[in-house]
Amino acid sequence: MALLQLRGIEKSYELGKTVVTALRGVDLEVEAGEFTVVMGPSGSGKTTLLNIIGCLDRPTGGSYVLDGEAIGDRDFNDLADIRNRKIGFIFQNFNLIPVLSVRENIEFPCVIRGEGGAELNQRVEAIARDVGLTDFLHHKPDELSGGQRQRVAIARALVTGPQLVLADEPTANLDSKTSDQIIDLMLALNRDKGVTFLFSTHDPRVMEHARRVVSIHDGVIVDGTAAAAADVARMHGAGTSFLLPYDAAERR
C-alpha cells in the first residue's frame, strides 16, 4: 500500500463573503522511498497541499490516509503526535529555535517525547555527520549561514526517523550554489538512506534529479509528464532571476 493516499482533497478559505478555493479535488499517492517534486506556479496550491499532507492543516473535503492511518477528525494533540513520529519538516525560512544550539535544535523533536541519553547523542552526531554539521553542534543558529541553517533543519527533520519528509521550497532563501548543495544532500539521503521526500519548488534544476514530478495548477494535479515538462520549459525560459525568489526580510 502507498505511504500516502489522498482522495479528492479539497481546501477552501472563507474570506468574508468570498470563498477562495486553494485545492479542488487532489488525488495523489506517494510510495515509500520516492523523491517527489511538486511543481506549480505561485498560488497554485503547493503550500496548502503540503500543509495538509503534513497534518498541519485540515482539508475541507476528501480523505487522507498516511501510513495506513486515516487522518480524519483527530484532535490537535493526536495530530501533533503523528507529526512528531511520522513526518519531518523543512521550511523555506529554516525555522530553527534561536535559543537552542545546533545539537539542541536537531534533538528537539526527540526531547519533547522524553528521549535522551547516550543513544540520542549518538544518533544526533551521526545525522550531523551526514549533513556535514559535525563541527557546528555547539553553535547557535544566528552564527550559521543560510545553507548551514537549512542543514540543521534537515537533520532535525530526520532525527525521529520519519516515514516522510516534507519540504516547502527549501531552497528559496538560498543562493544557487547553496541550493545545489542542499538538493544534492536531500537526493543523497533519499538514495543512501531511503528517506521519502515530498518537496515543492520553483527550481527547474531539481527536476533533472527528481524521480517523479507532480504538477499542480489552480488547485488540481494535472497530467504528470506533459504538464511537468511544460512547467520545466516555462521556468527555464524565465531565467535565473525568477528561479531565486529572495525574501530579504527573512535574511536578517
Binding site: N51, N77, R83, P98, V111, G116
Partner: protein, 415 residues
C-alpha cells in the same frame, strides 16, 4: 522529567533572550516588591515600638484584678481591691512571670490655692513599677523627686501630672505658697485628703486620659484607707510570644476570684491601630502586586506575539498544546521568582539599613518620641517571593493559552 528539565532550560533562555524587555519587567517587580517589603519592615518596626511603649511604658504585659473589675473599669471601684503582697507573691511564683507592680487606680481632685481640678490617678510603687514598666521613666520629666533617682531625695507626697494639668494649675501655683492637696473619696466613700507636692510632668504614651496624676502608692493607700491593699497588679513576663500560656498559668495560680488580662485586651486601641495599618498595607500591596503582574502578563503577551513562528515550528515538530502552555508559564514563573527575590532582597536591605540608625518619629497620640527599627521576617520574604512567582504564573495563563491556541499553519506563516 528529562522533558521538563529541557523545557525549563528553554524557558530560562527565553527569559534571558529579550534582555531589555525582561529587564524592564524585572525592574518593575524590583521596585514594587522592594517598596512593599521595606514599607512592611517600617510598619513592623513601628508596630513593635508601639507595642513596646504600651507594654513597657503603660500596661505591663498582663494585669491582675479582682473578678468583675474590668467590667467596671470606668468607675475604678476601690471596693474590688485585694491584699497586695500575698497575691504578688503567688504571681511571682508563676513560671514566665518576671516582675509584679502593685497599683491603685482612683478618681479624685487636686486643689492648689483656690483652683480645684478633677483628675484620674494612678498610684504606683516607684521601684516595683520600673521593673514592670521600665519605659515609664522616659515619659516623666523632673521625676527625680518622685523616684529618688540620680541622688535626688524622694519627696514623700510627690505627684506627677500631665502637661495639660500642669498648665492649668500653673497660675494658681504661682499665687500660693501652701502645699497642694489631693482629695478623693476613700474606700468607704468618705472624702479624704492628703498633702501633695507637684514635682514634675508626665507624658502620655498613648491615647488616654489627658488629666492624669501619678501618685506614690503609700500616699494613696493612706488617703484611701487601703493600707497594704491595691486594685491592680501589672505583670511583666519573660517572653511576650508566650503571653497566652503565662496568662493561663497565672489565672490558674490565682483562682476564681481574680481575673487576668493581656495588654491586648487592655490597650485594645493598639491592636485596632495595628489591624487597620495591616489591612491598609495589604490593600496597597495587593494593588501594587496586581499592577506588577499585569506588567508580567503584558510582557508574556508581547513574547507570544514575537515568537509566533517559533511556536508554529514547535507545533510542527510535534509539541502538544499543554507543553506550549507549560513553556510560557515557566517563563513567567522565572520572571516572577527572579523579580520577587531581587525585590525582596533589596527591600530587606533597605529595611536593615534604616534599622541600623533607627527612625525617630513622633505620633499624634503620644508625647513620647518613638525610635523605630524596621525589620522583615524571613517568612514574609518567602511569602512575597512565592506570591510574585505564582502570581506571575497565574497572570501568564492567558498569554500562554493564546500561544497554545494558535493554529500551526497560521503561526508558521508568522501569525
Amino acid at each position: 522529567m528529562r522533558r521538563t528539565l529541557s523545557l525549563l532550560r528553554i524557558a530560562l533562555r527565553n527569559v534571558l533572550r529579550n534582555r531589555r524587555r525582561t529587564l524592564i519587567t524585572l525592574a518593575a517587580l524590583l521596585v514594587g516588591v522592594s517598596v512593599m517589603v521595606s514599607v512592611r519592615g517600617v510598619l513592623n518596626g513601628l508596630q513593635s515600638a508601639l507595642v513596646e511603649n504600651v507594654v513597657k511604658g503603660q500596661t505591663g504585659a498582663l494585669q491582675v484584678h479582682r473578678k468583675g473589675y474590668r467590667q467596671n473599669v470606668l468607675a475604678s471601684p476601690l471596693t474590688l481591691d485585694f491584699e497586695s503582697e500575698p497575691i504578688a507573691e503567688k504571681a511571682r511564683a508563676v513560671p514566665g512571670v518576671q516582675a509584679v507592680a502593685p497599683r491603685i487606680a482612683f478618681g479624685g481632685m487636686l486643689a492648689v490655692g483656690d483652683e480645684t481640678i478633677f483628675l484620674f490617678n494612678q498610684a504606683i510603687d516607684p521601684a516595683a513599677e520600673l521593673k514592670v514598666c521600665p519605659k515609664r521613666g522616659a515619659a516623666m520629666h523632673d521625676a527625680g523627686k518622685f523616684f529618688g533617682a540620680g541622688g535626688i531625695e524622694q519627696v514623700a507626697d510627690a505627684v506627677l501630672v500631665t502637661g495639660e494639668l500642669e498648665k492649668a494649675l500653673r497660675p494658681a501655683m504661682a499665687k500660693t505658697k501652701d502645699p497642694a492637696a489631693l482629695l478623693a473619696p476613700d474606700r468607704d466613700g468618705a472624702l479624704s485628703g492628703e498633702n501633695a507636692t507637684i514635682v514634675g510632668k508626665v507624658d502620655l504614651s498613648g491615647p488616654g486620659d489627658r488629666k492624669l496624676g501619678i501618685v506614690r502608692l503609700d500616699v494613696a493607700q493612706r488617703l484611701l484607707k487601703m493600707e497594704g491593699r491595691v486594685t491592680e497588679l501589672a505583670v511583666a513576663v519573660d517572653d511576650l510570644s508566650r503571653l497566652e500560656q503565662t496568662k493561663a498559668a497565672l489565672q490558674q495560680a490565682l483562682g476564681e476570684g481574680y481575673e487576668v488580662h493581656t495588654w491586648e485586651e487592655i490597650a485594645s486601641f493598639v491592636v485596632d491601630i495595628r489591624n487597620m495599618q495591616n489591612a491598609l498595607l495589604s490593600l496597597v500591596a495587593a494593588v501594587f502586586m496586581l499592577l506588577m503582574l499585569l506588567g508580567v502578563a503584558n510582557t508574556m503577551l508581547m513574547s507570544v506575539l514575537d515568537r509566533t513562528r517559533e511556536i508554529g515550528t514547535m507545533m510542527a515538530v510535534g509539541v502538544r498544546r499543554q507543553t506550549i502552555v507549560a513553556l510560557f508559564l515557566m517563563e513567567a514563573g522565572f520572571i516572577g521568582a527572579l523579580g520577587g527575590s531581587l525585590g525582596g532582597a533589596l527591600g530587606w536591605g533597605l529595611s536593615s539599613w534604616l534599622s541600623a540608625d533607627g527612625i525617630s518619629l513622633r505620633l499624634p497620640t503620644s508625647d513620647v518620641p518613638y525610635v523605630i527599627h524596621p525589620f522583615v521576617p524571613v517568612q514574609y520574604l518567602a511569602a512575597v517571593v512565592a506570591i510574585a512567582a505564582t502570581g506571575a504564573v497565574l497572570f501568564a495563563l492567558y498569554p500562554a493559552w493564546r500561544a497554545s491556541r494558535l493554529r500551526p499553519v497560521e503561526a508558521l506563516a508568522g501569525g
